[in-house]
């Protein structure tokens, strides 16, 4: 069976005044299955909005195709596509009350008054705004407007809902609550969501699959765990979560395992296809995988533990409430980040900038990237 949404080789350039054309979409291909929550994640200007607008019918493609259940929808005008959008600024009709806003798609489709009222009430109930129908949309708070926009987009039960940064205008608490509600709603309705955000935490929390975009191209596509723990390249590693990237030369390989040497002389053993003798590999590890010990005696590497052991000097330490965030300068490697729960006990009771420290990263927490660091 054909997937719900399929994008084939979508390409779109924009002419700029007096400059080279901007490539907003660069041969992008993507499929979205039924009842799937897919997030487009990427920095500003990477083409997220352009892709959504191409799907909803407000932007043309230079080349490529967009299919819904195997049928191209490119020649259909926006109003004839089985897709609804939640706009970033909500785009509620200011001259209509909440109920008429929500019932708009039913009204233009000619659904009778009683049936319409029933479905509007149902949709409002679903987003937690039961009884708000008669209110003017101008009297609603930002979060309530957001819910009205959501109710309006789902009332006609589209197969696919597009959401362009719908939560970006909300404050932190409301945002987290809406993230959960959206996820539940998507699951309950069985509608596929294509959700745009440039907030990586939001993407990780909500998605079945994440599409990381940069420069109109897919950098990586996969479930949140893959994106976070096994990024394909340095862009994804840097964009999603905090990361340490270290270059290591592969000295030799025996069987499954290779021996690598990091600048500065530290050696470690790693397994995997990407460890090919003679190349420079890029190693990624997250700050929370780094354990830190203090004192000059600890600075000597622990020979027993498998993984990467380094010695350096603490340059910065800040307390975030739940953790300490440390920055450590390792000669030959550069600054590395570490997040630790408790500062390792030293005789003085804490770590001060300038103190020598020892780092250790277990092999299991080290991921080898496909390419060199960007």
């Amino acid at each position: 069976m054909a997937p719900l949404l399929e994008i084939r080789n979508a390409t779109r350039h924009f002419a700029t005044q007096g400059g080279a054309p901007v490539t907003a979409l660069d041969g992008l291909s993507l499929t979205v299955a039924d009842n799937e929550f897919v997030t487009l994640l990427g920095p500003s200007g990477c083409g997220k909005t352009t892709l959504l607008r191409a799907i909803s019918g407000f932007e043309d493609l230079d080349s490529g195709d967009i299919l819904i259940e195997g049928t191209s929808i490119l020649d259909r005008p926006a109003h004839a596509r089985p897709v609804n959008t939640v706009f970033q600024n909500y785009a509620l009709f200011p001259h209509m009350n909440v109920a008429r806003n929500v019932g708009y798609s039913l009204e233009v489709a000619g659904v009778s008054g009683a049936e319409r009222a029933r479905r509007v009430a149902e949709a409002l109930e679903l987003v937690g705004l039961g009884g708000y129908g008669e209110r003017s949309v101008r009297q609603l708070s930002g979060g309530q407007q957001q819910r009205v926009a959501l109710a309006r987009a789902i009332v006609a039960r589209p197969r696919l809902l597009l959401l362009d940064e719908p939560l970006s205008a909300l404050d932190r608490n409301l945002r987290q609550r809406m993230q959960e509600e959206l996820k539940q709603l998507q699951h309950g309705l069985g509608i596929s969501f294509v959700f745009v955000t440039h907030d990586q935490e939001e993407a990780l929390t909500m998605s079945d699959r994440i599409v990381v975009l940069d420069g109109g191209r897919i950098q990586q596509l996969g479930p949140p765990e893959d994106i976070y723990f096994r990024p394909e390249n340095a862009f994804v590693a840097r964009f999603v979560g905090e990361s340490n990237l270290v270059t290591a030369h592969v000295l030799s390989r025996s069987g499954e395992e290779g021996l690598l040497e990091v600048a500065g002389g530290a050696r470690l053993v790693l397994s995997g296809d990407r460890v090919v003798p003679g190349i420079d590999a890029t190693l990624l590890f997250r700050p929370e995988s780094v354990s830190v010990a203090s004192g000059p005696e600890a600075a000597a590497s622990e020979p027993g533990a498998a993984g990467l052991s380094l010695a350096g000097r603490l340059t910065q330490s800040s307390f975030t409430g739940s953790d300490y965030r440390l920055e450590i300068d390792v000669p030959g490697v550069g600054p590395l980040k570490a997040t630790v729960r408790h500062l390792a006990q030293s005789s003085s009771g804490g770590l001060a900038p300038g103190e020598p420290v020892a780092l250790h990263v277990p092999s299991a927490a080290i991921h080898v990237l496909a390419g060199p660091p960007a």
């Binding site: 019918g57 407000f58 897709v83 959008t85 706009f87 785009a91 200011p94 001259h95 233009v108 930002g142």
Partner: protein
């Protein structure tokens, strides 16, 4: 709360100070003459202009069709003139709207510089005297004028069209004169229209016609009504266009009033005509305000669309 009092008081006195000058000016130079006109309209005309200070309701009687003191012979000649003026003013508003509405959309889609240029061009006619511009229209419309010569030259007509000194000529002239008055309020409301609302409507399945009926039209209605009123009122009282382009054949209320004051020297009758026109215009304004006050009329845009 008492701590805020002095500030409120000061703000109020500043406001009062600012408003004092225009209030005084209007009281002396607008309300004064208006009151005088109202009184004059109920007085007997003097033999050589001016008024006799005796009560006299025949001026209004004449307007509503009874020219004699006993209200027996009904002759609605002035009502007809008034109605014709209303019809011509309505036609003027309508054609102005027809021309300006699409134009306002077109201009609102232009770049910033082209927009300012267009707005400047719209006001450009004000730089030339109205009388000069209307004489140019005489040259265009008369039997040997440019338009007729052009049409004859093309072989579309044999004999010149009789346009000049007809109601058509008056409407053409008034549309020409009042286009800027229609355009500016219309443009203001079209420019404010949020393009994402049009997209949202399409996204929700509305055809272009449905989007126009349900979103574009209601949201630009204040501009349409405002522009129409601003055109309708002065065209109802206009006398320059009918006297230049309508010749002696098309008499409008404005001409009538002008004649009463300047040639017939019947000030009370002129005043009564003026009062009647003003009363009907005020009535129209009340209807307009009522219409605007209705629940579903957009006064301000929603908070979010300003921030997003």
């Amino acid at each position: 709360m008492s701590a805020r009092k002095p500030i409120e008081l000061r703000q109020k006195s500043v406001l009062a100070g600012l408003l004092a000058a225009p209030t005084l000016f209007l009281a002396v130079f607008f309300a004064g003459p208006l009151g005088l006109m109202f009184i004059y309209s109920w007085l007997e005309p003097g033999l050589y202009g001016g008024v006799e200070w005796t009560f006299y309701d025949l001026s209004y009687g004449r307007i509503f069709g009874w020219a004699d003191t006993r209200y027996e012979k009904f002759d609605p000649v002035y009502l007809e003139i008034f109605l014709r003026s209303v019809v011509l003013a309505l036609q003027t508003s309508f054609f102005c709207l027809l021309i300006c509405y699409p134009a306002a959309f077109w201009v609102s889609r232009l770049g910033e510089r082209a927009k300012s240029l267009c707005l400047f061009l719209i006001t450009l006619p004000f730089f030339v005297s109205l009388v000069v511009r209307l004489f140019a229209w005489v040259l265009l419309l008369r039997p040997t004028g440019l338009i007729n010569q052009f049409l004859i030259g093309l072989g579309l007509i044999d004999t010149p069209l009789e346009i000049i000194f007809t109601e058509t000529a008056v409407v053409i002239g008034m549309v020409y004169v009042f286009i800027p008055f229609m355009f500016l309020p219309l443009y203001a409301s079209v420019e404010k229209l949020d393009a994402s609302l049009i997209e949202a409507s399409g996204d929700l399945g509305a055809t272009r016609l449905q989007t126009f009926r349900k979103v574009v039209l209601p949201l630009t209605l204040p501009g349409i009504i405002g522009g129409s009123i601003i055109v309708f009122i002065p065209s109802l009282g206009n006398f320059i266009v009918p006297s230049l382009l309508g010749g002696a054949k098309v008499v409008m209320t404005g001409n009538l009033i002008e004649q009463q004051f300047l040639s017939a020297r019947n000030w009370p009758f002129g005043a009564a005509l003026g009062m009647t026109v003003m009363a009907s215009v005020l009535l129209l304004l009340v209807v307009y305000v009522r219409l605007l006050g209705r629940d579903e009329m957009p006064a301000a845009r929603i908070r979010s669309s300003e921030g997003g």
